[in-house]
């Protein structure tokens, strides 16, 4: 029996139905770009491309499943997921695997997981669920409860120590508060207070974290150690010039000067080979994704939907900005991958889960 054309058409429609067209288009373009860069960054090896295709397909499936679910049903999973996340973080604290001095992973026999990654989604979900539940009886102290919900995972991740992820998780929590209507006074007051706390925080940082900040200010101070990555990636970007050196022609890349060039520093590879023009194109594509996500957020009907969609959108922005800012030497080196471009399965799953939830919220208004 052969597949009838109309059957194929119906299958296609069924797959397409829950997906957001513009978002899929923009993400697809970024993804295509990422394969091109990865091929070059991996010295024209196909192994990582294969892997990337596999985990991206897996992530897309998860996204599709989420996109066709109702936001309310996803929302109900918030407390258990948050709870599991906290328990896993505690497990990391007591039984985690230590690599390079930080304890971030949990050994599960066949694979390792990084529970802080789960928190990037679980925390905003939990907060959005919480505000939705008490929407009508909201008092000031609900914000305090929310602050505690943010503080618990942040403290655990900070302890690992993983300052970068801590800030990302804290930011995702803050974005929810921002969209549920945390008063401007509090936001501005908080910013002033945070500024005033800087010296205290500075003292609490680990030595290596302080050095990263210092390295950002003056990378030449420690050119052989912490400054090395930044100097080399800045040379890569700068020498790319307006038009780039051309695909597969990046000297910095192919002479091994760029560290982590398929993961956190992949942007340096892209930037060296495609130049300013390439950078503008990529930033423009990210802006398109963000604009579309913003539109979906604007159309969300429930408080949960607004808060969650807003938090996902802003988090996505933060990942992109922090990664490019770090590689370009205007932000300290923290382990944040470039969304949809960096090689790495865990981060990709998290991103697509976010996109799936966003589409689910977008579908709910129809």
């Amino acid at each position: 029996m052969t597949l009838q054309p109309h059957l194929i058409r119906r299958l296609w429609l069924a797959i397409k139905a829950p997906l957001d067209g513009p978002l899929m288009l923009f993400l697809g373009l970024i993804f295509a770009l990422s394969l091109v860069v990865l091929y070059s960054a991996n010295n024209q090896g196909l192994d990582k491309i294969d892997n990337k295709l596999v985990y991206t397909l897996l992530s897309l499936t998860i996204m599709w499943l989420l996109a066709r679910s109702r936001p309310q049903s996803i929302m109900n999973f918030a407390p258990p997921i948050y709870g599991i996340g906290v328990v896993l973080l505690l497990a990391v604290h007591f039984k985690g695997v230590t690599v390079n001095g930080s304890t971030r992973w949990l050994e599960l026999g066949i694979t390792r997981i990084q529970p802080s990654e789960i928190m990037k989604i679980a925390l905003p979900m939990m907060l959005a669920w919480f505000f939705q539940k008490y929407e009508l009886s909201m008092r000031w102290w609900h914000y305090l409860v929310a602050a505690v919900m943010i503080a618990i995972p942040c403290a655990l991740v900070l302890k690992q120590p993983d300052l970068g992820t801590t800030m990302l998780i804290a930011a995702s929590g803050f974005f929810v508060l921002f969209f549920v209507g945390l008063p401007w006074k509090v936001i501005l007051g908080g910013m002033v207070a945070a500024g005033a706390c800087m010296p205290v925080v500075w003292n609490m940082l680990h030595d290596y974290q302080r050095r990263r900040v210092m390295t950002m200010i003056d990378p030449m101070e420690d050119p052989l150690g912490a400054g090395y990555h930044i100097i080399q990636s800045m040379i890569a970007i700068g020498s790319g010039g307006p038009w780039g050196k051309g695909w597969l022609n990046g000297t910095q890349t192919h002479l091994d000067y760029i560290p982590e060039r398929t993961t956190d520093f992949i942007f340096a590879v892209y930037s060296e080979e495609f130049g300013l023009v390439g950078n503008v194109v990529l930033v423009f594509l990210y802006t398109l994704v963000l604009s579309r996500a913003m539109l979906i957020t604007a159309g969300a009907q429930t408080l949960y939907g607004r808060a969650m969609a807003g938090a996902i959108t802003l988090s996505f922005f933060v990942y992109a900005f922090v990664n490019m800012g770090m590689v370009a030497g205007i932000l300290p080196v923290v382990g944040v991958p470039l969304p949809f471009v960096s090689y790495g399965g865990t981060a990709t799953v998290t991103l697509f889960v976010g996109m799936g939830m966003l589409m689910s919220i977008g579908n709910a208004r129809r």
Binding site: N100, G101, E135, L136, F178, F179, G181, D207, Y208, R211, D222, P223, L224, G225, A226, Y228, M234, I235, A236, I237, G238, S239, G240, G241, P242, T251, Q252, L255, Y257, S271, G275, L276, N279, V280, V283, Y286, T287, L290, S291, M294, T297, A298, R306, G310, T313, L314, F317, F321, M324, G325, A328, G329, I330
Partner: protein
Amino acid sequence: MRPTRFKNPQAEDGQFQLRLIVAYCFMLLMFGILIARFVWLQVYQYEHFSTLAQNNRISLLPILPNRGLIMDRNGVILAQNYSAYTLELVPSKMPDMNATIAELAKLVNITPRDEKLFKKLLGESKDFESIPLKVKLSEEEAARVAANAWRYPGVEVKARLFRDYPYKELTSHVLGYIGRINQKDQERLDDEDKSTNYKGSNYIGKTGLEAVYEDDLHGQVGFEEVETDSGGRAIRSLRRTPPVNGNNLKLALDIRLQEVADKLFGNRRGALVAIDPQTGGVLAFLSKPGFDPNLFIDGIDSQSWAALNSDWQKPMINRALRGTYPPGSTFKPFMSMAALETHSIGMHDVRPAPAFFTLPGSSHQFRDSNKNGNGSANLAKAIQVSSDTFFYKLAWDMGIDKIAPTVGQFGLGRPTGIDLDGEASGVLPTKEWKAKRFARYKEEYRRWYPADVVSIGIGQGFNSYTPLQMANAVAILANDGVAYKPHLVQEVVEAKSGKSRLVEARPDRTLPFKQENFEYVKTAMQSVMKPGGTAWRLGIGLPYTMAGKTGTAQVVAIKQGAKYNASALAEQYRDHSWFVAFAPVDKPRIAVAVIVENAGFGAAAAAPIARGLFDYYMTGKVPGSISGDMKTMPMDTADDSAATSD
């Protein structure tokens, strides 16, 4: 069903839309900043970065600092560096490693041991690291390989500094050794943020002083910014930050004294620690047998390792630092201090010292080492003849609570704080200690029995101390209670400026005991070396004053009614021979603790070693029995010849 809203939905929607717009504008602004940064880097700074990338390129080469030297108190070098060529391979640059090794074997002599060691290092290192295949090439071999190196990518001949311990076994338990940085070391360096300073370094201190003073000895890495061509060869140097060589260590130890001690031990097992009571400086620190630390530097081959590990004499164990033994009768002087300080006995009280001691209501006989007993004695006499029954009774009368606190003041039963890692703490028995030690056993094992104290009185029972602790305790006693922390390193000397940092000879603490009690016990110990004392033979012809105490530590318990018969026991079960001593008595310059394992009575084996050591230290004369074997140069004669040539 939509919930009824009490708030104004329009206003709330407006709020939300406003926030969305704010967020959106913020994002655009930040992306704008990013683009501005790109423009700056890729347009305005393009020339600059382009040059940097084009010349490519600039590479930073670490310049290794020279590791600090270690020398004894007279400047004799104990750990040094020498330059030699090595043949090194970088696996990641080699197309076919085994073929290349086979080719290289035609140029230089590569032994199976070299190859085995290489395979081992290969497993522990990363691919891009340079791994030595053969160290210490001859000039000719180096030239041959260098001439052919272009044919084999990834093969390099490098001039490198090697560590060498010229005194081998003699210093193994003091200096320890350095070894190649392994995964674990690397993780620790990363944790402590020292990995930058170890760029290019292959070695790190693993044990002994090499490990404890690693930060001083290693120095600060330098780097050279060089321009390289596309093949990675350096064209010219742009900037150079010189390395800072490691600091030198000057020890309190006298290597010649150490060798005298070693030769006096001969092939016997045991430990010896000699301390200057007035500074805490460790003059000799010996654990027999030792091992050759040079074997460990480039990774020990499995045969030598197996040999060291399976040796029943356990040469890898630092007996002076980590071996704990019952002190036997060498405990009696400290026991006496406790008795006098707690007024448990008067200086002139005469008490019986019979052939055996029994507890009230028990038939168990605690025997004296002198099978006829010693009649009766005062405390000083009891020390001189080492009467066991006298001290059994004394301990029984005092109870553990009066013994442990005073004895503990001498540092027994806790680490002395010497500058070596892994010191054992030993056991100063107390009721609390027993309860804790046997916490998992039945109550009857945990309970303190009054009888427990009896054998503790003569240094047996639960007593267990390291030779270092005993030497330290004797030094404190000799110095009338002014205690110094024992230390091997006397000075840390900066290689460049010659500035030195002294390890301060500051009293650690002063024991709150009566001077007359110190005098009494010290005089009694001096009488041990005189006619009637247990070590009287060794006091014959002393050109200086000396005080000592013999000891015999039981390894196995002898059955009731049976006699100790050394020849009937396998060697490992024979008693340990102890001796502690100091000299001169008035103003002590040296205090020593010697243990010779399974060698019987203290006076027989350990005491002659101490006497020979003191003779050398006090008079400069090497004991006749060993003078032919000495390898180290006598310092005083060397000085003399220098003086006469002036």
